[in-house]
Symmetry: C2
Subunit: 362 residues, 2 copies
């Protein structure tokens, strides 16, 4: 039996229900900008050493909540755990991005792919359960995964890429192979997120980090179609509580209508999107999450306050009977930078709460 | 006295006048995917050795025209010649991007900036004149520059960047310094493009390669405002002929209306944009240039033909009395990749011509 939630503002905003203030959390909020995170990571020895150890994962997930009045926690993990469990061999070299030892390049590689045994991801579900216990009802816990397309990018490229040449070559030259990878990924991601929900995740987020590198048309066929396939398989509630679904496509601002039609509860948007315009485009179909440029956090406090206020007002500006300030989860438009001064994050979080309360009052 | 133009389809399309076919050229069409380019570059010793030598620059500019039925030539140069002429010390290390020896980081650096003596860019104007002579009226010649904001990105970062942390920190923390850099850049770019026009450039293009990394609001204030400042200073005709202006913001698809309001003749768009939707948004204010994903060229010929046809139809689909196929300059949505098979480029160019003639006939 879990503790009742002391702060449900995030879950309410996801469902577009009124809240006293705009809830806020930050992508990658447990990360290298925090000295206490770096200390725990040093103890763990490696990124995967950190992510696969339940105690460490619990510890770093809660670290930002000790410093800031954040309204949600997000599982500490990586978007690439699923292809790792497929046997592709994930590693993180010092100072570099993720690498797969066995990238998926040809027909034989694709034929070998299958939804992994979820037991290989047990460490993730155990971390979810442990974090829920540690949170003890303080704020809700978000689970997550990479999107089928974003996983495919890393699986085919074998790591990060400047031009996505290998994965796009497969997409254009052998769409049959690409669709097969994406089918397997979608079913694997759905099973993975459902297991996170069973373990205690109170909302789930699909990170389509590389959807925005696709051409119009290709995005709909190779990214959004498989995000929909995931959403269709997800449990909509657990323990009698609805489990909101968040979809975030970096660089996906041109496709908001199509993404809203997929009917997640929340669409994450990056900083190129005007929140007021986005809201006019998606209407009351979805809530919005975002979207401050993480680089704003390099500016002095008074500038941070001005930019946060502008973002809140941008969302709230259209005239609505209820004041028009609900259905917004404040966040950055991308993960927080490792170079962020930690004290600036407090300015952001506190400003979101203060200004959004004032907007509701006024 | 220049030779009369044998093929004015590109210039007509820029002005949204009817053409018998859709004209096509490719960003970075004189580049490393061509073995003959690599041979000339090896003779020149370095990228800047190539760009600053009038004979070499003329030779490589014309190389793709020998292979393909392209409808325009573009000056072989770099977008960063202007800050180099300001004294920032441009170099290209082997296998890396551009570097500036003297980046612009603080108030004193900014105070030193000034519109450079155009004599330091004489090699560019000489190349324009030489290329015009070598073209002898075959197709028009496009001149170009980086946009004020894109130049500022490189000037402050000192080279390429993953996160634009330094330039965005200056933007958010010291907007006064950023505006000063952008003013100088805009006036320098305008003078530079006007000198290219005087030397014989028949159209000019402003590459806002990094406009798309800016937040909504910041884009309008720090990129578009200074592109407008350039456009306002440009000569609209030369030798009695209008000189079309092309503005291309990579990742700028959300801001097409605002860019069309700046009234260049042509807006370049990348592959995330749906051409038919873009056309509905900008109306008859501007022509459009783009927008095939360069990775399509890694696919086999039949797939290239299908994607090119889809792009042409996407632009031409809306019902119009005149068939709705004018005002489109076919291009990629970004520079051609060095890994492109040269024979695939012929497939693209020939398909654009064949299919667009058929669309006009049907």
């Amino acid at each position: 039996m879990s503790a009742p939630l002391a702060n449900d503002a995030f879950l309410r905003a996801c469902r577009r229900q009124p809240t006293d203030f705009t809830p806020v959390w930050l992508m990658r909020q447990a990360g290298r900008y925090l000295p206490e995170y770096c200390a725990t990571r040093a103890k763990a020895g490696s990124f995967m050493g950190l992510a696969t150890n339940v105690d460490f994962a619990t510890e770093v997930t809660l670290q930002p909540l000790e410093r800031y009045a954040l309204d949600a926690a997000i599982l500490f993990s990586d978007i690439l755990t699923v292809p790792d469990a497929m046997g592709l061999g994930l590693s993180f070299a010092q100072g570099e991005g993720p690498r797969f030892a066995h990238p998926v390049r040809d027909e034989a590689d694709v034929a070998r792919l299958a939804v992994p045994d979820l037991d290989r991801l047990r460490y993730v579900f155990d971390a979810v359960t442990s974090i829920r216990q540690a949170l003890n009802g303080r704020v809700p816990l978000i689970g997550f995964s990479g999107s089928p397309w974003t996983l495919a990018c890393y699986m085919v490229e074998g790591g990060g890429s400047d031009d996505y040449r290998l994965v796009k070559t497969m997409l254009y030259a052998r769409p049959d192979l690409m669709h097969r990878i994406l089918e397997v990924n979608a079913d694997a991601v759905a099973a993975y997120l459902n297991a996170q929900i069973d373990a205690g995740a109170q909302a789930v987020m699909i990170f389509d980090s590389w959807g925005g590198v696709l051409a119009d048309g290709a995005f709909q066929r190779f990214s959004l179609a498989y995000t929909k396939r995931v959403l269709a398989q997800l449990k909509r509630e657990h323990d009698g509580e609805p489990v909101p679904q968040i979809v975030f496509t970096k660089g996906g601002g041109l496709w908001l209508e199509a993404m809203a039609d997929a009917r997640p509860d929340v669409l994450g948007v990056d900083w190129t999107v005007n929140l007021g315009q986005a809201r006019a485009r998606v209407g009351d179909r979805v809530a919005l999450q975002g979207n401050l440029d993480p680089c704003v956090l390099f500016a002095p406090p008074e500038k941070i306050r001005a930019e946060v206020t502008a973002a809140l007002e941008s969302f709230g500006r259209p005239a609505r009977a209820d004041g028009g300030v609900d259905g917004h989860v404040f966040n950055l438009g991308h993960g927080i930078s490792q170079f962020t001064p930690p004290e600036h994050v407090a300015v952001l979080v506190d400003t979101v709460h203060e200004v959004s309360r004032r907007l509701r009052a006024g």
